[in-house]
Amino acid sequence: MTSATERYIVPGMVCRNCADTVTEALTALDGVREVLVDLDAGEIAIEATTHVAPETVQRALDAVGYAATPNPSPQPDPS
C-alpha cells in the first residue's frame, strides 16, 4: 500500500480540543490514515493512502473553523 504525507500550517489550533476537532475532521476524509498534530508549531501532518487534494483538506478544516496552508517543507528529523 502506498502512502503520502502532506503537511499544513493551521495557526488557529492551540489546544487539545483543537487537535481533536482537526483530527476528527480529517480522518473522515477518504484515504486519510492518521493525523499528526504539533500544537506548539501549529502544524499537522496527514498520512494518507493516496494524495489528498489541498482543497479537500482546506474545505474539511474550514467547516470546523480552521484555516490551513500547505507546508511543503518537512520538519527536521530530531534524531
Binding site: P11, V14, C15, R16, N17, T21, D40, G65
Partner: protein
C-alpha cells in the same frame, strides 16, 4: 458582569480585581464567551480583553495576539454556550492566580476543562500575560 473597557486606565479594574478576584476572573472568561457569541469580530474580541503585546502560554503552547485571533474563528464556529466556575482565586499587585472549571458546549460536545491560571492584567483590566495548565476531564455528547 465586570465591564472591561479598553479605554479605562484609572486602575478601577485592578481595584475590582483585588476586591473580588474570583468574580473578576469569572467575568473575564464569561465576557470573552459572551463577546464571541454576540458576533463581535475576532480581533475586537481579542483586543477588548487582551493588550496588544499579550502572551498566553497554555499547556506549553504559546499564543500571541495573531494566534489568538486565529483561534477565535473555530471557537466561534463551535461554541454554543459556556460558563465558568472559579473555585478559588487570589490577587496581588497586577496578578491573579485562580483555579477554575470551564463548562463549554463546543461542536455539540460538552467539554469540561479544569484550569490553573496565573495571569497579569493591565490597569484597564485587559490580560497582559498568562500561564495556564489545563485538563479536560469529561466529554459527552450534548
Amino acid at each position: 458582569m465586570t465591564n472591561i473597557n479598553r479605554t479605562g486606565g484609572s486602575g478601577e479594574r485592578l481595584a475590582e480585581m483585588h476586591a473580588d478576584p474570583a468574580r473578576f476572573i469569572r467575568d473575564f472568561y464569561e465576557g470573552i464567551s459572551h463577546a464571541i457569541l454576540s458576533n463581535d469580530s475576532d480581533a475586537d474580541v481579542v483586543d477588548r480583553f487582551h493588550t496588544p503585546d499579550m502572551v498566553q502560554v497554555a499547556d506549553g503552547v504559546t499564543m500571541d495576539r495573531d494566534r489568538l485571533i486565529a483561534h477565535m474563528r473555530p471557537v466561534r464556529k463551535g461554541l454554543s454556550r459556556s460558563r465558568v466556575e472559579v473555585h478559588e482565586a487570589i490577587a496581588a499587585d497586577d496578578a491573579v492566580a485562580a483555579r477554575l472549571t470551564i463548562h463549554a458546549e463546543l461542536n455539540r460536545q460538552v467539554i469540561v476543562t479544569d484550569a490553573h491560571f496565573f495571569g497579569r492584567f493591565a490597569v484597564d483590566g485587559r490580560l497582559r500575560s498568562a500561564h495556564q495548565f489545563t485538563k479536560t476531564r469529561k466529554q459527552a455528547t450534548a
